[in-house]
Subunit: 450 residues, 2 copies
């Protein structure tokens, strides 16, 4: 696929040089803009400049829309402000705002000042919303019609507006105060009696969000109710914009990536493409935190040096307790983080689930502990060592269930990401308490062990 | 929200008893079927039975579609086969297949045998596909029209078919052999000259998948190209069905959940709702694997008991090496698993990324190692112990970068889930090699440490 696009891109460049309009259109029809954008990243600077200055606005706008941030900045660098504005004619408002958001402030202001008053107002309003809220995701390209329009008039309007909008299968129905009072399915409009009014066929139970609603919550609603678009309204229920499902998919991917990465203390913006230096910088802080917690466990062990000196076998067996209970805790932790992300956990009724996790911990701890106990007893020829390891594991697995549950729930309650370094905090707890329990028990029953 | 739905459900039940048709319709319009389904789960058996036998087919079909597996089985238990079939008239084929898939084989066969020949053929064909492939996701409710249809005739057909189909904004265009040769946007159809043919306005570059394509790959295409629907074709490019974006969102959620859970050895089907016994059963196997690897590290330590006996400080310091390098490895691991899931990693050109991860490991290991070295030197008043810990950490962080990269890539190459127990395998490696490196170095420089 990649190399096929490359060939098309080379053909496109040659066609541009020859001003072969037909060939350009042909190629453009056969390639998706996003594939083209991915390939354009690898072009030489002069090739890119040539492409930018010779391809027409609509096509360049599509490429710009699909490019990653870096390429967007590069392309815009080759264009004067007037050309950028004419590209914007082909790009939905929400994406224009995303592009503007990445530009240096001076450039951004210059572009906004050149816009028509209407566009300027909309863009400035959209720029005002936090990127991670419904307002930051919404676009203003949609079809909204008055409730008392007849079906036939509605159809005429729809035909008129359709080419300029992102979504056509849902028509938003407004009252005289521009409040959203319903949605009409295009399929119903097509199959209804032409003299009926929109208000007769509309669905008046509409799921909507406010501009300040967190993007994660928006994604949950869209996925729960199988929506392809969700309207954004203000406190008076006036329609401000809509969010389309493709942006929601991006949000879901983004939030999942964050969960996966943050759990082990990776910065949510790191990716495989980050440079060596960026990766080191982004990972070090949590590694230092982890180092600190590792020293805490080390202090615990150090406190029992006298005991270990007498029975050096403790040194080899204590790590079994910490390693397995750390893993058990991470099992609970991952289930919790996913459940919170999927909106399945509500703080107030989570007590039974907490109890279950603690019970799972105790029972699994006892089973794994018995197994370990038997092996250790046989290995060291001391049954008491086995009993102690079993007790320590049962207790520590319980702790792992408890903290695997509490850490993400607490982070969530503190309005932080439930995944944030949660695995680091958890293994710190299970390590420290694991060593402490096991070595304390060993110390207590020392006479039986020697 | 929850309690509001509950009130509506109670009202619904009372309206059913009174046979108050208008009230029933009213309530039903104000509540989403999925909210109702969630609330119905908590009904008493006799209430559920009453509801099932008194509500009309269309409404019950919606509830059935939105229920979870357990409730679906319960509802179907209250209905005779004929009623189930009449509910199926209101449910898209892909969802019928999902429901049938959960029924006992006898019941499933009985229902299929009662179907009309046409339906039977489609359903049996759909049931033949693996659940996790494009075939398992697709539905046969879409609008496909001949390429040489005029716009005006196309519109008439669309109006006719629209009420029975899931997607109307994309019309699939077929040639005489029923091969998919393009798609037409409803917006273009609405705004085109009525005498043109579909073939004049269609987009003939169509992204499609085969029925055996893995669902993860389908999701990647939909998310990359911002599709709201993707057609499924056979090898001759004949249209078999389409997949809608709401099902793709479910796939994305499912795959992410799997990644998150499997990394730490949690069965992909476990959730917060699993019973105590299920949870224990599903988590124990990987805990046992983890116990085995923990014993391997324990054996490594045991082999150095003589060394530890002489310098008991090793016992407290060795865990710093293993804990921090385990965390560093998990950082690499989570980035890799996410990148693989997002389709960003291709095996053949992953060498630079592998090199980067190893370098990040070495450099972060050296930084964290120096810090640890200084603290340990001061704590134990022995600079050599500090040097050894720094060396061991640098080496072991390198290993963690290497294995954090290799484990998911290898699992993927073996056609397994890249996340499957990867964290368990990784920490086993970093623990074993961490203890081995550190204790070997200590043994080597023993005279300097005592």
């Amino acid at each position: 696929m990649q190399s096929k696009t490359r060939i098309q891109l080379e053909r496109l460049l040659r066609a541009l040089v020859k001003h072969d309009r037909k060939a350009i259109d042909d190629i453009y029809e056969q390639v998706e803009a996003i594939d083209l954008a991915e390939e354009i990243e690898d072009l030489e600077d002069d090739q890119l400049e040539y492409l930018c200055s010779h391809i027409d606005d609509e096509k360049l706008a599509e490429i710009l829309e699909e490019s990653d941030e870096e390429l967007q900045l590069e392309i815009i660098d080759y264009l004067d402000n007037k050309r950028v504005l004419s590209l914007f004619n082909y790009i939905p408002k929400d994406n224009i705002v995303d592009i503007l958001g990445e530009l240096p402030i001076g450039k951004r202001k210059a572009l906004i000042n050149l816009m028509k008053a209407d566009d300027k107002r909309v863009i400035e309003q959209l720029l005002g919303y936090d990127e991670e809220t419904a307002g930051g995701l919404m676009t203003t390209e949609y079809i909204a019609l008055g409730a008392h329009l007849s079906i036939i008039d509605a159809l005429i309007k729809i035909k008129e507006i359709a080419p300029k909008t992102e979504v056509i299968d849902t028509i938003f129905v407004l009252n005289d105060k521009r409040q959203l009072i319903g949605t009409a399915d295009l399929r119903d409009i097509l199959s209804s009696d032409q003299n009926e009014q929109l208000t007769d066929i509309m669905n008046d139970y509409v799921i909507s969000v406010h501009p300040e609603t967190d993007q994660e919550e928006v994604a949950l609603l869209v996925s729960k109710y199988d929506l392809t678009t969700i309207p954004v309204v203000n406190k008076n229920n006036a329609l401000l914009g809509i969010i389309t499902v493709d942006d929601i998919i991006d949000v879901i991917q983004e939030e999942h990536t964050e969960d996966m990465l943050q759990m082990h203390g990776v910065h949510k913006e790191e990716s495989l493409d980050s440079t060596l230096l960026e990766s080191i910088k982004m990972r070090l802080p949590w590694l230092i935190v982890n180092l600190t917690t590792a020293f805490f466990s080390s202090f615990v062990i150090k406190a029992f040096e006298a005991t270990i000196e007498q029975i050096v076998a403790l040194s080899a067996t204590m790590t079994i307790v910490s390693a397995t209970s750390g893993n058990a805790g991470n099992q609970t932790l991952s289930i919790l983080i996913r459940s919170i992300a999927l909106g399945e956990v509500r703080l107030r009724d989570s007590l039974p689930a907490l109890k279950k996790e603690v019970c799972v911990g105790i029972l699994n701890g006892f089973i794994v502990g018995c197994l370990s106990g038997i092996i250790v007893s046989l290995m060291y020829g001391n049954i008491y060592l086995g009993v102690i390891i079993c007790m320590a594991m049962t207790f520590n697995f319980m702790i792992s269930g408890l903290f695997g549950f509490i850490i993400p729930v607490a982070l969530k309650a503190l309005k932080m990401d439930p995944a944030l370094a949660s695995s680091i905090f958890l293994t710190a707890t299970t390590d420290i308490l694991g060593f402490l329990t096991f070595l304390s028990l060993a110390n207590l029953f020392l006479p039986l062990l020697t």
